[in-house]
């Protein structure tokens, strides 16, 4: 388990992180969300030991690491930075062999890793000829060297198209059981793959939990879309307004009701009495985008 206790990071007058408390459980996938300058990268750099907190402490399995302990942490850690320019004159295989030597990982582990990220065919090609997606997969492969217990991944899918991003997560899913800490702007992907989300704003944790935890905490409204039946004679919206639960809007014959989290069950139960007037119901929980909007 990783614990951050009152971790703050300042750059002169600028406060990148403000007394942050956070616990990351073993095997958990934690997404770190926030706009540019919210403190995501500062948090990740502290987690991998590239930056020292201005105050507060970080504990791995209850111990504050000294220099030797950081070395041990680094043996079981995979880090995938957002931007890295590998040596263009090296091939994918030679690049991975170089990083394997740095980690003390056996050279025979390189080929299976290249296969895992789908780069076997391109292994002998120089990196100057790699696409952005291929470089990202190579970046992921170096992070996976030595079968790390913890993966820290900074903005891995920025600049990738939807297929590229999905492909990235499919590869990452194969390392389930490991702790994964990932920052990103792509909230849709984060909500689909992460166990918990930590939303940062101006260096502070403004929301933390599973997606449904965040909905409850922030009480963002649920959107219920109802398709009126012919029998309703256009009176469904009026009937729903009479219930006095949430706000009702009529959009080209489709009725959309916004209901708070605490009224959600009561509202859905009350629809039973209007069953004959409704052809179809769709319930949409607020998206992480809305969570992000609400917290910034």
């Amino acid at each position: 388990m990783i614990q951050l206790e009152g971790v703050a990071k300042r750059f002169g007058e600028i406060e990148a992180l403000a007394a942050l408390d956070l616990e990351i459980r073993d095997g958990e996938w934690l997404g770190v969300l926030g706009r540019n300058g919210s403190g995501k990268t500062s948090l990740l750099r502290i987690l991998v030991g590239l930056s020292q907190p201005s105050s507060g402490k970080i504990l791995f399995d209850g111990q504050e690491p000294d220099t030797e302990a950081w070395r041990r942490v680094h043996r079981t850690l995979g880090f995938m930075p957002e931007r890295v320019s590998f040596f263009e004159h090296l091939t994918g295989e030679k690049t991975l062999r170089y990083f394997a030597r740095l980690k003390g990982v056996a050279q025979h582990e390189v080929a299976p890793l290249l296969a895992q990220v789908g780069l076997t065919a391109a292994a002998g090609r120089k990196l100057g000829g790699y696409s952005k997606g291929m470089l990202q997969r190579l970046n992921l492969a170096q992070a996976l060297l030595g079968d790390p217990r913890m993966l820290v991944v900074d903005e891995p899918i920025e600049g990738l198209d939807a297929d590229g991003a999905r492909e990235f997560f499919e590869i990452l899913k194969r390392v389930e059981g490991r702790t994964v800490i990932m920052s990103s702007h792509r909230v849709g992907m984060m909500s689909r793959y992460m166990d918990r989300v930590c939303v940062l704003n101006a260096g502070r944790v403004v929301a933390l939990g599973t997606e449904s935890d965040l909905h409850q905490t922030l009480d963002l409204p649920v959107r219920v879309t109802l398709q009126p039946s012919v029998e309703s004679n256009g009176h469904l919206a009026t009937a729903l307004e009479r219930l006095e639960i949430g706000s009702v809007a009529n959009r080209n014959g489709i009725v959309v009701v916004s209901v708070s989290q605490r009224d959600k069950i009561r509202f859905l139960a009350s629809l039973q009495s209007l069953e004959a007037s409704i052809d179809n119901v769709r319930i949409e929980e607020p998206s992480l985008e809305e969570v992000l909007r609400e917290t910034h």
Binding site: F11, R45, V48, G49, L50, S51, Q52, T67, R71, R72, H74, R75, L77, F79, P81, E82, R83, V84, S85, F86, F87, H89, Y98, F99, R101, L102, K103, G104, Q142, V152
Partner: protein, 277 residues
């Protein structure tokens, strides 16, 4: 994993990356062509054309080294470490079980090896030509080569300091050129100026100590005692007080060690405070 494994891995990678630099091979080629030209044409002013192993030729080779080796080393190291920081490679390597000191040492070893290969490639062909055609003292030429390598290493260490202080590759090159002008031209001119303004007033010991403040003068003084045939045309070194070779070697070592220690200290400090670039 042994810690030396990481150092060697980094050193080897830096070496192969440096050896791909066109700048290194351009300057090495320039040194080679010029040294061969000196070998064959160095005695032309006295009416002799052809390979010559005279003291004048050896002294010219030494002067060539004084001018070009520091420049090669300084420009080669401009941007060292900070370029890798900007490319994200430094952060990635330090997230591995590699300490910042191991990274620093590995990088210096790699650069020093690349510089040595470039210098050996520049001077050895000339040495072979001299040895075969003129029967020049091979021992003297080997000592000259060792001195050239030592001179390159001192300025490479200084280039690490310049790069870390500059925080930017372009600024690093500008500062490197300034350091080169200072070491190769300005320092000796200032010293000569001092001697002319106060003739007879400057004690020889003070003059000798002043020469130790410039690695290129230490190089000249060592050449004075190690490369005998080149001794007479070596300018300031010939009027300098006798300083033992051991002191001069230690002085070169101190220059290299001090430059590396200070740059290592600054590197660690700026890394810890996120102010490297």
């Amino acid at each position: 994993m042994r810690r030396t494994d990481a150092i060697w891995a980094i050193a080897f990678e830096e070496l192969s990356d440096r050896l791909r630099s066109r700048w290194i091979w351009t300057v090495s080629g320039l040194v080679l062509v010029t040294s061969l030209a000196i070998t064959f044409l160095g005695t032309a002013p006295v009416g002799v054309v052809g390979a010559s192993g005279s003291g004048a030729v050896m002294a010219s080779l030494l002067n060539l080294a004084v001018y070009l080796v520091p420049l090669l080393a300084l420009v080669m190291g401009a941007g060292v470490i900070i370029d890798e920081k900007r490319r994200g490679v430094l952060d990635l390597i330090l997230a591995y079980p590699v300490s910042s000191s191991e990274y620093f040492v590995g990088t210096f070893v790699g650069y020093a090896a690349a510089l040595s290969i470039a210098l050996v490639s520049s001077f050895v062909p000339t040495g072979i030509v001299l040895s075969v055609t003129t029967g020049v003292n091979t021992g003297e030429f080997v000592r000259l080569l060792l001195l050239v390598l030592a001179l390159g290493t001192v300025f490479l260490a200084l280039s690490f300091l310049v790069s870390i202080l500059s925080r930017d590759h372009a600024r690093g090159i500008a500062v490197s050129v300034l350091v080169w002008i200072l070491a190769v031209f300005v320092f000796d001119l200032a010293l000569v100026g001092g001697l002319m303004i106060y003739p007879g007033d400057v004690p020889l010991a003070l003059f000798g100590s002043a020469l130790l403040l410039n690695p290129t003068d230490i190089f000249r003084l060592l050449a004075f005692s190690w490369v005998g045939s080149a001794a007479s045309p070596l300018g300031l070194a010939t009027v300098a007080p006798p300083i033992s070779s051991a002191v001069l070697v230690v002085a070169l070592g101190i220059w290299t060690g001090a430059a590396l220690l200070v740059s290592h200290h600054l590197f660690i400090k700026r890394l810890a405070t996120d102010r490297l670039v």
